[in-house]
Amino acid sequence: MQRNTISNQHIKALLVTTIIGVGMLSLPSELAMILENDGWIAIILAGLMLIPFLIIIDKLFSMFPNKSIFEIGREVMGPTIFGIILIIQAIYTIIVLAYTVRIFGEVIKVYILETTPIEVIIITMLLATAYLSRSKIEVLGRMAVMIYPIIIGLVVFLLAVTLPDMDYTNIFPIFNADYKQLPRGIMTAVFSYTGYEIIFLCYNYSDDNKNTLKYVLRGLIVVTCVYLIVFFTSLSSFGIYQLKREIWPSVAVVKEVNLPGYFLENLDGIMLAIWVIAIYASLTSIFYIGGAVLSNISKTKTHELFILPLIPIIYTVALLPDNLVQTNEIMARIISYAAIIARVILPIIIFISAIIRKRRSRA
């Protein structure tokens, strides 16, 4: 039986598993480049910045109970304007997917499958992802609940293996960064919260809408804590200079570890094996968003239709940049700007026009 409602616990798990993905690997070093030892401030502030938007979304859905974001948007903004926004959102989603899967391919190629062509890595991952993305949101939610403890386990694993060799004095000096750089730092950190859009889609499916906000905020706290732990473990293991040098410090930090007794070495394999699952969860959710947005643009009944045709597009976009540096510079920049539209402006516009619409109808 398909109930097609999900519990708040599912929404929380969806939020956490969608957000935590590729950003986790490079975040510490990118923040260290900008804010030195104080990168953690940006992580916390970026997390705090999302809270007003989550509250706006909550208000919006309580104004229009049992309606999806698409219905609300079309009702308050008119089909044309909302159509344009949806197209932007679709392009943004495709680029995010392409970026994620490209970085995934690069990391896997560097650390695990050295001789496998990156094309093969990308296409297999996309196919595996597509299988789950064709399901309904309820299935995605259940999958997220299964993957959630794995992600927490990943962080615990990271902490447990690095703790013995850590030099915690490396986190000093605290509060010594150039605070003019803070906005740039926050932008970088916000980039790692990509994927929180999933709650736009699942909010109205919740079986207990009153408490959803509470669970979503809890999910946000979990994500922030995960990022903080990743930042502090890599900072205290590497020290600030070496941290700036690393591209993916969170994996490299595991390479520093020798387990007591030396019976296991090169733990990066284990770390990445778990990380693949985290990426899988985050890709599926974003893929689902892409399918749902496209199906709304063309007014089809289900989103499944668009998942498979999306694969060649994502594949092509993912392979467009020549090298890793280009990927990180161009794609990440496009995503940062598009993210402002998709995540900041979109909820605010819908919210404001919703308020105006309500007032007008009352008057």
Partner: protein, 374 residues
């Protein structure tokens, strides 16, 4: 339908077994130790400036059913970089090299005169995706190749003899084991580092004391005693035995643990204080009816003597460090971490400031136990 399924499963048997590009472990050469020396003949040219030596175990000679006698192989060539050497060796060895288990990097003394080369080697190792960043770095007095040659014939297990000695002596304070990451971050922070020195003695290798490197260049050798107190000052107080003369008797004191507190501040110039707390037990005294260690007064006197001895050693070593201007005891690091504002002011002239620092050294020794006898 059934037939189709059958055919498909038979095909999948062939295609999905995953054996088509298998590689046996005997067909890989796991490099364990790498030695690098300067190629004196290529002086002035930009390429081929290194003599790279690989040591790798003979996998067929390991284990119960060993089929071959020779335990390790040694191979060496002139090359521009560590990994390029591996390519050049391919003409001489049957299988490709694998670097995931490199454990030891021995750098020849002469190479440390060339700053550029050292920087290149470090970047190459740090950048490489396969090498473990836990490689132990040692400096050879003389040629690295000779040292690898010396332990060539010795009993070999997979890790390599030198690695085992460095690793197992982690509990010794007579040298400072240094991994690649530690090595690089030391340069990042203070531009100086200390790595163990490896020497040849009677045809066998010996790890003894350390080598201070500053700005990627050789600076000074330190002996075991100096290295020991340097470790004490860095808070790496491990199992170690100290012998001092107390009232004409030799007492042996074993350290089991210790703790170091450092502080540095600006007050009419930079001042630094180092406070070392040491705990341990009495290992040996003298068999004499009139003398007993089972007396608090005697113990306190002994503690005093040991404190004086360690303090004298420390002050001597600090003088030496100030003379050669090598801040390997982390005073600059401490200031940058805990007094960042002050550090910004003096950071650029640290090389002029360090030799002038006034040190205040205190040592606190506790004899917690006296063994089984009184």
């Amino acid at each position: 339908m059934r037939r189709k399924l059958l055919i498909m499963s038979i095909i999948s048997l062939i295609l999905m077994s995953g054996c088509w590009d298998k590689e046996e472990i005997e067909q890989r050469l796991f490099v364990t130790d790498i030695g690098i020396d300067l190629n004196e003949e290529a002086k002035g040219s930009d390429v081929d400036r290194l003599i790279v030596t690989y040591q790798y175990p003979n996998i067929n000679a390991i284990g119960k059913n060993a089929t071959e006698e020779q335990r390790t192989y040694l191979i060496s060539t002139i090359s521009s970089s560590i990994f390029q050497a591996g390519r050049e060796f391919r003409n001489r060895v049957p299988f490709p090299f694998y670097y995931k288990h490199v454990k030891v990097l021995i750098v020849g003394e002469s190479l440390l005169k060339e700053e550029e080369l050292v920087r290149q080697i470090l970047d190459e190792l740090n950048r490489d995706t396969k090498t473990n960043k836990k490689i132990m770095i040692l400096v050879a007095e003389g040629k690295a190749r000779d040292i690898l040659q010396a332990n060539y014939s010795e009993d070999q297990h997979t890790d390599g003899v030198i690695y085992s000695s460095v690793r197992d002596n982690r509990s010794s304070a007579r040298f400072t084991p240094k991994t690649l990451t530690d090595f690089i971050s030391d340069f990042d922070i203070s531009n100086t580092t200390i790595v163990p020195r490896i020497i040849l003695e009677n045809g066998k290798f010996k790890i003894s004391g350390g080598c201070i490197i500053k700005n990627y260049k050789f600076l000074e050798w330190v002996d075991e005693k100096e290295n020991r107190v340097i470790n004490f000052m860095n808070g790496e107080v491990n199992l170690e035995t100290i012998d001092v003369v107390h009232n004409d008797d030799l007492i042996i004191y074993t350290i089991i643990r210790g703790d170091t507190k450092k502080d540095a501040y600006i007050e009419n110039g930079v001042k630094a204080s180092i406070n070392v707390e040491i705990e341990g037990y009495l290992q040996g005294y003298t068999m004499n009816d009139k003398k007993t260690a089972y007396d608090n007064k005697v113990l306190l006197e002994m503690e005093n003597t040991i404190e004086k001895e360690i303090k004298a050693e420390m002050e001597k070593t600090i003088d030496k460090l100030q003379e050669i201007n090598a801040d390997i005891i982390g005073i600059g690091e401490h200031m940058s971490k805990f007094h960042p504002r002050d550090w910004e002011k003096i950071q650029d002239s640290w090389d002029n400031i360090f030799p002038e620092i006034e040190f205040d050294v205190t040592v606190n020794v506790h004899i917690r136990r006296t063994g089984l006898t009184k």
